[in-house]
């Protein structure tokens, strides 16, 4: 594993109007590492990862300050266009959100089409690749033109993963990707992530601490907008440095 940091967050603050949801967070992630963000509801972890592709600022009254470096480019630099950032940083949401008006195939290639790829053969090839990477190909290869919403919840979420992968992002953000899914679909997606980490750096928000322990290399614990503890997953879960972390992971609060 390459140990060079691909993602570096420096003193990130995120606001909703006058409410500060993320209060000066700094952390970094290495190439192909899986970083898990844990913490109780409302601790700012979702807001945090929504800052990593500048999606946070799309909400009315929301803005962020600080620096987020992806491959050494500060995405909060004034010259940077948020649209171009979002092509490099994929995102998978809590609830599967395929485009209901598009077919499975068109869902997967939606990002490519936005990026201006027009050649049908290229689109087909990448669609197949992405669906294979998302472990969905065998289930949908015969019905690529069925609506994306005709799939089951777990399949829809893997479709969304394929959609995010199709544009070959350097970083993949996952905001509680399995919290709306049943245990079997969850297991499939976790299995998938261990494959995906070979190609892409993953930041995942999760409510499920076993999940964080199973899949991540490093873990960040958030509490009321602050980063309490950040370190190797094994260390955070077995020998936490802070009392709050220990109380949270042992289930005594939160």
């Amino acid at each position: 594993m390459n140990t060079k940091a691909i993602l570096e967050v420096k003193d990130l603050h995120a606001w909703f109007g006058n409410t500060e949801a993320v209060k000066g967070v700094s952390l970094s992630a290495a190439y192909n590492a899986v970083t898990a963000i844990i913490g109780p509801s409302g601790c700012g972890k979702s807001t945090f990862i929504r800052c990593l592709n500048r999606l946070h600022e799309e909400l009315p009254g929301a803005y962020a300050t600080g620096h987020v470096l992806i491959e050494n480019i500060d995405i909060y630099d004034k010259k940077v266009d948020p649209v171009s950032i979002r092509r490099k940083v994929g995102m998978v949401f809590q609830k599967p959100n395929p485009f209901p008006s598009l077919s499975i195939f068109d869902n997967v290639v939606a990002g490519l089409k936005l990026a201006g790829v027009k050649r049908q053969s290229t689109l087909k090839e990448i669609a197949e690749q992405s669906l294979l990477s998302a472990a969905l190909w065998s289930e949908v290869k015969d019905k690529l033109h069925a609506p994306g919403t005709s799939l089951s919840g777990g399949q829809q979420q893997r479709l969304c993963i394929a959609r995010a992968l199709a544009v070959e992002p350097t970083v993949l953000l996952m905001d509680e990707p399995t919290s709306a899914l049943d245990p079997i679909s969850t297991a499939k997606i976790e299995e998938l992530m261990t494959e995906l980490r070979k190609k892409v750096t993953i930041v995942i928000v999760t409510h499920n601490m076993q999940q964080a322990a199973r899949i991540s290399d490093q873990t960040a614990f958030f509490l009321s907008g602050e980063l309490i503890e950040f370190g190797e997953t094994s260390q955070v879960f077995t020998a936490p440095q802070k009392e709050q972390t220990e109380r949270y992971i042992t289930g005594r609060f939160g």
């Binding site: 592709n53 999606l55 799309e58 009315p60 649209v83 171009s84 979002r86 092509r87 994929g90 995102m91 949401f93 609830k95 959100n97 395929p98 485009f99 209901p100 008006s101 598009l102 939606a110 990002g111 936005l114 990026a115 969304c160 959609r163 995010a164 544009v167």
Partner: protein, 321 residues
């Protein structure tokens, strides 16, 4: 919309369940009263249809299909062909929809997706207020402002530069098909606008974020997440606007020029189904004239009924999915 039918069934269910124990007299009376009222309204609709058909019967049996295909409307000679007024209704409403649909959908999109909340709320309110202006006021504005400015400014230019197209040829008077279409377009904007906005509002934020997170610009996001998935709903909104335009009477009667002739030019005076009824009903000289006007009313009733039905099916399908 569909749920309005449930209370009848639900109440029946409730009464049965209650009556096993101890029926509450108040509930019983109230639910029967509501049932009576809702059935009464449905009955009223059927009776209006029946009345129109009965009134039109003399004309239907005398003219048959010629009533619809005939292009001469001459009360003195007792010749009644409604093709010119059918044409007038159709064309004026089409002009209205062609102008109003893109405008209304565009405004709804802007106010829902781009405008800051304060602007969105106040402009939205003002547009919806357009629907509250009485039709006769639109007519007055049409006569005193729109028609004169069409006659002195717009129509001379149209004839000069586009006169080679039959649509914009011939003499012009200000009043006419174009004026009627324009007035109608303003009058149906609130209908199409507010329905489109309601449809846009039902689209979950997650759909928009899905597009943005893939690197869509705002416009691309609107295309993929908003417009694409509300296509049939917008279709329904437009048809509902069309339904309003077809039946609109007062303002159209005041600016269309009231001449029952089919003319290729939009600048020429015309007549619509609604306006011919409004103009001639009071002075209908004999029974067959009266019956012919009622037949036009019957046709208008059937057409708007079907169109509104279609629109509701469209919108219903949208809100279900």
């Amino acid at each position: 919309m569909q749920s309005t039918w449930y209370p009848i069934n639900m109440s029946r269910f409730k009464i049965r369940r209650r009556s096993r124990r101890e029926a509450h007299l108040g509930d019983l009376v109230f639910s029967y009263l509501l049932r009576l009222l809702s059935l009464g309204l449905a009955l009223l609709l059927l009776m209006i249809g029946f009345f129109l058909f009965r009134g039109a019967f003399a004309s239907i049996s005398r003219f048959g299909w010629d009533f619809i295909t005939g292009s001469v409307w001459d009360p003195v000679q007792e010749i009644f062909g409604s093709a010119p007024v059918l044409y007038g209704t159709l064309v004026s409403s089409l002009i209205a929809v062609i102008i109003a649909a893109p405008l209304s959908v565009g405004i709804a999109l802007f106010l829902n997706e781009l405008a800051p909340p304060l602007i969105s709320r106040s402009i939205g309110f003002l547009i919806e207020m357009l629907a509250a202006i009485p039709s006769v006021v639109y007519g007055l504005w049409g006569i005193f402002v729109l028609a004169p400015s069409l006659r002195t400014r717009v129509e001379p230019a149209l004839v000069k530069y586009l006169g080679w197209i039959p649509l914009f040829s011939g003499p012009f008077y200000g009043v006419g098909m174009l004026a009627a279409g324009l007035i109608l377009s303003i009058m149906i904007i609130p209908t199409i606008f507010s329905l489109s906005r309601e449809i846009f509002r039902t689209i979950p934020m997650a759909q928009r974020e899905a597009a943005l997170a893939l690197g869509a610009t705002r416009w691309e996001m609107m295309k993929i997440s908003v417009l694409r998935s509300s296509k049939s709903g917008i279709g329904g909104a437009i048809i509902l606007g069309l339904g309003r335009a077809l039946g609109e009477t007062m303002a159209v009667t005041m600016v269309i020029g009231n001449r029952a002739e089919i003319s290729a030019s939009l600048l020429a005076p015309a007549q619509t189904m609604a306006s011919v009824i409004a103009n001639e009903y009071a002075e209908a000289s004999n029974d067959i004239h009266l019956s012919s006007l009622i037949e036009i009313g019957f046709l208008l009733f059937v057409v708007t009924f079907i169109i509104n039905g279609f629109a509701r099916i469209f919108i219903l399908r949208e809100s279900k999915s």
